[in-house]
Amino acid sequence: MTTATTSVSGPAANAAGENMRFYGVWLVGVIVLVVLPLVFSSGGSLTSFSLIGIAIVFALSYNILLGQTGLLSFGHAVHYGLGGFMACHMMNAVVSHGWPIPLPFIPLFGGLGGLAFAILVSWLMTKRAGTVFAMISLGIGELVASSSLILRSVFGGEAGITTDRTALPRMFGWTFGPQIQVYYLIAFWLVVSAIAMYALTRTPLGRISNAVRDNPERVQFIGYDPHVVRYLAYCFAGFFAGIAGGLAAISFEIANSAYLGAIQSGLVLFATFIGGTAYFFGPILGAILVTYLQLGLTSVTSVWQLYFGIIFIGIVMFSPGGIAGLLMMHRPLLRAGTLWTVIPSYLVAIVPTVALGCGVVLMIETIARYSGGEASAINLFGIAFNPRSPATWIAAAVLVAGGFVIARLTWRRIGEAWDRAATIARDRGYLA
C-alpha cells in the first residue's frame, strides 16, 4: 500500500524485492484486521473498528474521484446513502420473500445501488471538471437529500428505514447478531474493496484517470475522451461508496436521510484530504484519524466540529499533500541518510507549536463555555481553568500569541534544515 499512485511499478530490475514488499504490506494489513479485535475486545472498540472500516472504504472510494481523477465532489454521500437504503430494502425483501441470500452478500447490493445512481446522473455531471463539477455535485447532493424527505415510501421520511440483520439466512452458522461478527464482515469487505480499488489504479482506465487529472486537454490528443474517463471513474467511485453505505446499513440496522446529506459528504472530503490524496494509503490514514477524532472528541468537547475545520484548513494551507504527503516527503531523506539533520529542528519546534495548539484549544473552549453560559472548568492536561476568570483569557492569549511568534521562528529553522537535507539527498540521486 506504500506504492504511490504516481509511481511506477514497471519492469524494474529489483522487481522481485518490490513485489515481496508490496504483498508484505497487504498481508500485514490483513493480519492486523484479524488480530485487532482479539487484542481490543470490548464492545466499544469493536464498534469503533467497524466504523473506521466503513469510513476507510468510503474515503478510498472518494479518492477515486479526488486523488485519481481530480474531481472534487461535494455530494459523494449521495452514493453512500443510496447504497445504505438499497441494502436496507434488500435485507427487508430477503426476509419477507424468503430469498436465500445471506447477509455477507448485502453490501454488494448497496454497491449496485450506488452504481445505479452514478450511471444515471454522472454522464451529465462529468461533462465538465473543476469548479463546475464541484458545484454540480453539490446541487445533485442537495437534490437527493431534499427529495429523500419527500419520497417517504422509499426513504422512510425523518425516521428512515429500519431492518434486522439477524433475520437473514445464516452463513457458516453466523447470526451476525454479535458485534464481532459484524466487525469481521466489514473487515472482509474492507479488504476486498481496498484490493479492488488498488487494482483499479493499475489498469489502463486508472492510469488514464491520472492523466485526465493532470491535463484533461492533452488527453484528448492521445485518443481519449476525458468525459468518458471521468464518467467511468465516477461510476466506480459510486459503486464502492455504495458498498460502504451498505456496510453502514448492516452495522446500524437503519438508513436515514442523514446518510446522504451534506455533512456526510463533507466528512468524507475531510478524511480523504487530511489523509492525503496523492497516495493510495492516504485516505486510509485520514479515515482512521477523522473517525477516531469524531468518536473521541464528541465526548470531550461540544465544539468538536470546529477542531475538524481548523485541522482541515491547516492541512489545506500548509500541507496540501495531507498526512501521507508529509510522511512520504521524508522518504528521499531517509534513503539518502540525511533525515537525522532535520530531526533536531523538529524537536525544537515541538515545544512552541504545542504551546500554540494548547492556547488555541484553551481559547476555543473558553469562548464556547463563556457564551454557552456554562461555568464548568476546562480541564487541560490536568490543569483546571475557569472560563469566567480573566486569568484564563490572559493565559490563552499569551499562549496563542507567544506560541505563534516563537513557533514561526522554529518553523523557519525547519524549512532551512529541510532545504539543506533535501539538496544533499538530491545530489546523492534520491528524488522527491
Binding site: 514497471g10 489498469t203 489502463p204 486508472g206 492510469r207 491520472n210 484528448q220 490528443f221 492521445i222 481519449y224
Partner: protein, 249 residues
Amino acid sequence: MTAAIEVRAVEKRFGNVSIIRDLNLSIAQGERHAIIGPNGAGKSTTFNLISGHIKPTSGEVRLNGDVISGLRPFEINRRGLSRSFQVTNVFARMTVWENVRCAVLWATGHRYAFWKNVDHLPEVREQTARILEDIHLTHRRDVPAGLLTYAEQRELEIGVTIAGGATVVMLDEPTAGMSHAETERAVSLIRRLTEGRTLVIVEHDMSVVFGLADRISVLVYGHIIASGTPEEIRRDPKVKEAYLGEEAH
C-alpha cells in the same frame, strides 16, 4: 495520391475579427511541411483548427481524404493525427514512463479497460520502452514529468506526440526556448522519429525550418501568401517583403 492534410477555404472568426481567412493548404503524404510567419499570424490557430482544438467558422479540413473538421480532438487523433503543444503540456505528476505509456494505450487497443493490469501488457511495455529509448529519456523514466529540465520536457512532449503511432505528426514550436546545442539535438530527434510520416511543424528558428522542411508555407495575417520548396520561398519577393525582409538573420 490523396493529400495527408487538405485545408480548403477555412475561416475562423472570434466575434467580428477574422483570425484566419480563406486558408488553403495541401500537405502530401510523407512530406515535411513547415508553417512560418510573423508573431500573431495565426500559426497556432491553424494548428488548433486542423487538430480539432477549435472548430472552423467555415470551410473544411480533410485528413487522408476524409473530412475531419467538426470532429472532436480525440476522434481526429484516433484517425492518425497527433500534435504537440507550444506550451509544454505533459502530465506533470506522472513519471516519464507513465506519460509515454498513457500515449501508447489507445493505439494498442486497451482503451478504457478496467480489467487488465497495465503492467502486464507486453506490447505496451515494449512500445513504451522503445519510445523512451528513441527520445533518450530511459535513464529518467521514474522521474515525475514536472521535475524534468525544460529541454527534457520538450523531448517528452515529442515522445508523447508520436507514441500512438500517428501517421500525421504536428509539432508546435518544438525547439522554442532551447539552446543551440539542444536545438540541434531536437532537430535530429524529430527527423529520425518522423521518418516515413507526414510532419507539419510551426517554427520560428529559420535554421530549423530550412534544415528540416521539404516545403514551407508562409502565413501572414491569417492568410497563406506563399507555399513552396525552401528555395522557392527564399526567392519569393512577397515573402521577403512580408516576413524574411525584417526577420531574416
